[in-house]
């Protein structure tokens, strides 16, 4: 398997050997091998139902594999697509949930400040915006000083501007905390912006691993970006024409767009058409 042949230079944060997970007849993961070095940022791409969430749940200890071994650090945290905050607890109470010790409140305040929420400490999740709630969830993970951070499409439900901010935030947190990160995403551009290595999973197999060695900080469309994008889309089995001609400069082409293609019946010459959301 390609993914496993890539060297993991530093001490490993994740070591998976022969991981298989079946749900009845369906094989969600088929004999997967994967190593992630500590401090490495890995993006995992795949279409819906490719097995990427099953892999993350196995790493999070939320799902028992049918066979194979999964080794992860004791200190691992997950941020899900939905923030999953307890609505009856304030932001800071959510962050400190289950923690004991004298410095807990101080650490929680610091973690919330780090994600830019020092002014929302005592807000209930129902009053937070989507981005704020997701940042609170991030603070809840960070305050526990994880060595491995598992991100299950954490930006998918956010609007484009908030998502761009979150990308920058995640990158800076990753650098500062020296975490290993596994980011599951639909979004090819997101993977290229953030990851050291992009993996593609297809029908339970890690089919491709592409190292991404662009200099940081990265931006959409920088030199080498388009080439990587083409390679990754090719690996997922998407041709450039399938993405409706969306370029990274104009918008973000995601696999989700391909999963549910929007009819494009906008007439460019029509005043009504031009006003309609594309």
């Amino acid at each position: 398997m390609n993914a496993s042949t890539l060297p993991a230079p530093r001490s490993p944060a994740v070591r998976i050997r022969g991981l298989t997970r079946r749900f009845g007849e369906t094989v969600a993961l088929d004999n997967v091998d994967l190593s992630i070095a500590s401090g490495e940022f890995v993006a995992l791409l795949g279409r819906s139902g490719s097995g990427k969430s099953t892999l993350l749940r196995a790493l999070a200890g939320l799902d028992a594999p049918t066979s194979g071994s999964v080794e992860v650090p004791e200190e691992r945290m997950v941020v899900f697509q939905e923030p999953r905050l307890l609505p009856w607890k304030t932001a800071i109470e959510n962050v400190t949930l289950g923690l004991t010790g004298p410095a807990t409140a101080e650490q929680a305040r610091a973690a919330l400040a780090e994600v830019g929420l020092e002014h929302r400490l005592h807000a209930y999740p129902g009053t937070l915006s989507g981005g704020e709630a997701q940042r609170t969830a991030l603070a809840r993970a960070l305050v526990r000083a994880p060595k491995l951070l598992l991100l299950d499409e954490p930006f998918a439900a956010l609007d484009a501007l908030t998502r761009m901010r979150m990308h920058r935030l995640i990158e800076s947190l990753w650098i500062r905390h020296e975490l290993a990160v596994l980011l599951i995403t639909h979004d090819v551009d997101e993977a290229i912006l953030l990851a050291d290595r992009a993996l593609v999973i297809d029908q339970g197999n890690l089919s491709t691993a592409i190292p991404i060695d662009l200099p940081r900080p990265r931006e959409l469309g920088q030199e080498g970006f388009l080439g990587l994008r083409k390679r990754l889309l090719g690996a997922i089995g998407v041709t450039e024409s399938e993405t409706n001609g969306a370029t990274p400069l104009r918008g973000v082409a995601t696999l989700r767009d391909l999963d549910s293609p929007q009819p494009r019946e906008v007439d460019a010459t029509s005043a009504r058409g031009a006003a309609a959301p594309a």
Partner: protein
């Protein structure tokens, strides 16, 4: 959003005139396919809340007029003035307060036992599969019993003192509390339970921080329902061999054909129902302050 593909601007209006087009394009389009623009109107609550009081006041006035003119015999229904008079008389000598206190005490005791029993059973059945097997099936069977049919049995078991009255309230009020708390516990979002696993919460922490708060809104609906039922049951229970309480007062009044006291008793039950409801709503506002609906309403 569905987009109608019709290039009416290009067809009707030359490009240099488009900027001056009227806001409503339907004047330019042919009638058959005219796009309809409707002004957005949001109805606001009118300031005429007091109108709600008009019909009750009118009804009472009609009732008084009917009694005064002799249309309604005071044996059938005492006039409002007489109900008010007996209210003053009974409060002046302290009898009404005495009976009210006794009734309130019975409901309070019955509810306390109901919350204790129904709550504990729901927690046991809700949190363990074994508890569910042992507790849930009999509870589901028992809850269909008409509680009032237990009165004769309870008199044999508990005599005619305070015990059967409190016990009846307890039995009746236990089921709504059990059912709603049990359903609330079982209805906890599994995604939040997963968070507890990720954060490595202990089972006690899971129950305390996630399961019970999540079940609380449903359980409060049960509490409200229980309180309503407990008054209902008390009316019947206090008419059996009681010598105090609002039900006794009414039973006594029936023997002397005092329709004024009977109506007064009914009004007191109604007022108590409203009071108890207000109490639970106050409790909801305090305990569920985190809910977005309340966050908005508090402002």
């Amino acid at each position: 959003m569905h987009i109608i593909k019709r290039d009416w601007t290009a067809a009707v209006v030359p490009p240099n005139m488009r900027a001056t087009m009227p806001a409503n394009p339907s004047v330019l389009a042919d009638d058959a396919t005219a796009p309809l623009l409707t002004p957005v109107t949001v109805r606001r609550k009118g300031p005429r809340q007091w109108l709600r009081l008009v019909s009750p006041v009118l009804l009472i006035a009609l009732w008084q007029i009917g009694s005064s003119t002799g249309l309604i015999s005071s044996r059938t229904l005492a006039p409002p003035s007489q109900v008010l008079a007996s209210f003053y008389r009974l409060t002046a000598d302290g009898a009404l307060q005495q009976h009210l206190l006794v009734s309130l005490g019975r409901v309070a005791k019955g509810m306390a036992f109901a919350i204790l029993i129904g709550g504990s059973l729901a927690v046991i059945a809700g949190l363990s599969r074994l508890g569910e097997y042992i507790i849930d099936a009999p509870m589901q069977m028992l809850r269909t019993l008409p509680v009032l049919a237990l009165i004769p049995l309870f008199i044999i078991w508990f005599g005619i003192g305070e015990l059967p009255k409190v016990a009846l309230v307890t039995v009746a009020a236990t089921f709504p509390i059990y059912l709603t708390l049990y359903a609330g516990i079982r209805g906890v979002d599994p995604k939040l339970v997963e968070v507890a696993r990720v954060l490595r919460l202990s089972r006690t922490q899971l129950i305390r921080h996630i399961i019970l708060p999540a079940a609380l809104p449903t359980a409060l609906v049960g509490l409200r329902y229980s309180l309503g039922i407990s008054w209902l049951i008390l009316v019947a229970a206090e008419q059996v061999n009681a010598n105090s309480g609002i039900g006794y007062l009414m039973n006594d009044a029936r023997d002397f054909m005092r329709t004024d006291v009977l109506v007064l008793g009914l009004l007191i039950y109604a007022a108590l129902g409203l009071l108890v409801d207000a109490l639970v709503r106050w409790l909801e506002r305090r305990l569920l302050a985190w809910r977005p609906t309340f966050v908005g309403a508090a402002a």
